[in-house]
Amino acid sequence: MTAAATSLVEMPQPRSLPYRGKVGMASLIIAESAIFTIFVVAYLFYIGKSLTGPTPGEVLETPIFFTICLLSSSLTIHYASRSLERGRRSAFLSLWSLTIILGALFMCGTGREWHRLIYEHGLTISTNLFGTTYYSLVGLHAFHVTAGLIMLTVVLIFGLAGRVHKDHFRRVDVLALYWHFVDAVWVVVFTVVYIVGR
């Protein structure tokens, strides 16, 4: 059938379809964005509607250092995958590890903040509407950071075992795309929780 079909027309130009990993991850990001949108809307809708304290203005402190950590990890992962593309594996491994360290630092920041809120201010997820929406939104983001860290660590383990090569660049880039998304979501969460919400 191919012969018959091709005899009718000139062979189509060689074309490049998009990489499926990238399209798949982009689709996942669209879906995740919708989930985050719903949680952000709930947070915004319930600002100032708590019947009891504590309120965000009383207890929240802006986590500037940890925000810088997370946002700069976007840069390090970008340069990590660029290094892999150019075949510089040791640069890739060190930048990749740095990304994991920065992400882990951010998680420590969230952990410290939650510890302080729970033990010093007695704010839990069931205290009031602020607690419910705050822990859900920040927790949902922290969950995504954790999932990202696990995936990054798996790649690091393979990389240390010498199994990640230049050929894997496109796959590693898919993971980087996810990590950029997690960072971008933090910009929204940060704005909503620490700037608008107070």
């Binding site: 059938m1 079909a5 074309r15 019947l51």
Partner: protein, 557 residues
């Protein structure tokens, strides 16, 4: 199956042991097998959800009936709605997507075969979880078993205080799990369509079904996820003592309604858009004409996808939103009618002047055109806010959306079954049984859902387990129930046809309908690798080009 193989004299090929066959099906990552698994799974739930519908109709057949208790009645309509939407229509449509999309674009498989299998088993597990609530829903308290909060579970009904026990948890978890399955499949469909097309298969040459599944995939990403988010919030409320929908602590019941309908209304379009796709493939083939207005059809589909994301609150006119919100949602709802009307005109334009063959698939599609038009018109009626204030929560609404889902989506899906069954099994479905199925179902459908509008207009509210005699509802409800049983008989004929034709149906051959899309160029059923050589496409109707080299479509594109 063995009779399909080439027989070599003197050698008898033994069939595989059944355990090995079962193992192959359970561990499969082949898009065709997963498609068939999805479809069989959906058909199973069609029967289960149908039995629940019959229980509802027996209860409502006459006034003061005590066939089931009020509690059981609540469980039945909750389970009927949830089952039919999430575990019947969605899986069947995903099944067709899985089976057809790679074949139609000339691909070897979906973009992510293992994700595909994972998504199917997630959805399957969701259905099992929902029905396990009949056993496990009572928990330690012994209160209730299956969920009884309605398919929308309005707050605060879903809260611990009003839904003790675990039945609502099973409902929440099953929708969450199957929702993740749906998202996985949607990602897969989009990646397949964008990245796996064969040479020459440009976006503008894809069969319309593929286009419509691409739109459906995009809508699933945006529309199913709000439900997942809302279910997570409900779980936080129920298990961690959160206050999202807890009005005692300042939470809002209306927020749940918004979140539910931001999912709920686009969901209708998620379901009907593949049905549009079935029509766009079947009507041209049986009218012996190419589809009328292909680019407009694509544009209208995308437009429906966009506009339908902004209509959700027309389900909430009676909640007491302000008049600006009411006007906005009334206008957007009516606006959806425009691209939908364009599609209906284009299908009629395709049939116009064609040599129409009224085979069973075409019969069902013709039924769709007529019924979907009426369903759309009653929808426009209710988009008018004052009318909706009168009709909301009455049987008029029930009749309207069953007209969409049964008269529209289910009819188109039946058409798809008759059209693609030969490709999936290599056997034709019986035309005689098919006509019985069509006419019985058509008569039963119109008896049930035409008549059901009237008690709604007379003020019969939905979800009541019985009613007083002498309100003029009795005879009407009796007719509705009799119609439901005629539909049930038609479904039995259909299932019988599926089974008998699998063993005794006429051999289909590669291309029984003289069709034009790529799936008909390979054998029926297709081999695991789909195409022996990668097909090269030069027009929207590659098989027409092949059959008519003297006058190919590619000359005119």
């Amino acid at each position: 199956m063995s009779s399909n193989a080439i027989t070599i004299p003197g050698i008898r090929v033994e069939g595989k042991p059944w355990l090995e066959t079962l193992h192959e099906w359970v561990t499969t990552v082949d898009h065709k097998r997963l498609g068939i698994l999805y479809i069989i799974y959906g058909l199973g739930f069609l029967v289960v959800g149908g039995v629940e519908a019959l229980i509802i109709r027996i209860q409502l057949m006459h006034s003061h009936s005590d066939f089931v208790s009020p509690q059981v009645f609540n469980r039945m309509f909750t389970m009927h709605g949830t089952t039919m939407i999430f575990f019947m229509v969605m899986p069947v449509l995903f099944g067709f997507a899985n089976y057809l999309v790679p074949l139609m674009i000339g691909a070897r498989d979906m973009a992510f075969p293992r994700l595909n299998a994972f998504s199917f088993w997630l959805s399957a597990f969701g259905g099992v979880l929902l029905y396990f609530s009949f056993l496990g829903g009572s928990g330690l308290y012994g209160a209730g078993n299956a969920p009884d909060v309605g398919w929308w579970a309005y707050a605060p009904l879903g809260a611990r205080a009003f839904s003790p026990g675990h039945s609502t948890d099973y409902w929440t978890l099953s929708l969450l799990v199957s929702g993740f399955g749906s998202i996985g499949t949607a990602i897969n469909i989009i990646a397949t369509v964008l990245c796996m097309r064969s040479p020459g298969m440009k976006l503008g040459r894809m069969p319309l079904l593929v286009w419509l599944y691409l739109v459906m995939g995009g809508m699933v990403l945006i529309a199913i996820t709000p439900l997942s988010a809302a279910q997570i919030m409900l779980l936080i409320d129920r298990y961690l003592g959160g206050h999202f929908f807890d009005t005692q602590a300042g939470g809002s019941a209306v927020l749940w309604m918004h979140f539910f309908w931001i999912f709920g209304h686009p969901e209708v379009y998620v379901l009907v858009i593949p049905a549009f796709g079935f029509l766009s493939e079947i009507i041209p083939v049986f009218s012996r004409k190419p589809i009328f207005g292909y680019p407009v059809m694509v544009a209208a589909s995308v437009a429906i996808g966009f506009v339908s994301l902004s209509v959700w609150a027309h389900h909430m006119f009676t909640v007491g939103m302000n008049s600006y919100a009411n006007s906005f949602f009334a206008i957007t709802t009516m606006a959806v009618g425009i691209p939908t009307g364009i599609k209906i005109f284009n299908w009629i334009g395709t049939m116009w002047g064609g040599r129409i063959h009224f085979k069973v698939p075409m019969l069902f599609c013709t039924g769709f055109l007529f019924q979907f038009l009426i369903a759309g018109l009653t929808g426009i009626i209710q988009a008018s806010v004052p009318v909706d204030w009168q009709l909301s929560l009455s049987y008029f609404v029930v009749a309207h959306f069953h007209y969409v889902i049964v008269g529209g989506i289910l009819f188109a899906t039946f058409g798809a079954f008759y059209y693609w069954y030969p490709k999936m099994t290599g056997r034709m479905l019986s035309e005689r049984l098919g006509k019985w199925h069509f006419w019985l179902f058509l008569i039963g459908f119109h008896m049930t859902f035409d008549v059901m509008h009237i008690p709604g207009l007379l003020g019969m509210p939905r979800r009541i387990y019985t009613y007083e005699p002498g309100r003029g509802w009795d005879t009407l409800n009796l007719i509705v129930s009799i119609g439901a049983f005629i539909q049930a008989i038609a479904i039995l004929v259909f299932v019988w046809n599926l089974i008998v034709s699998y063993f005794k149906g006429a051999k289909a051959g590669n291309d029984p309908w003289d069709a034009w899309t790529l799936e008909w160029s390979t054998s029926s059923p297709p081999p695991a690798y789909n195409f022996a050589t990668v097909p090269v496409v030069a027009s929207r109707r590659p098989l027409w080009d092949l059959k008519h080299p003297e006058d190919p479509d590619s000359r005119y594109e």
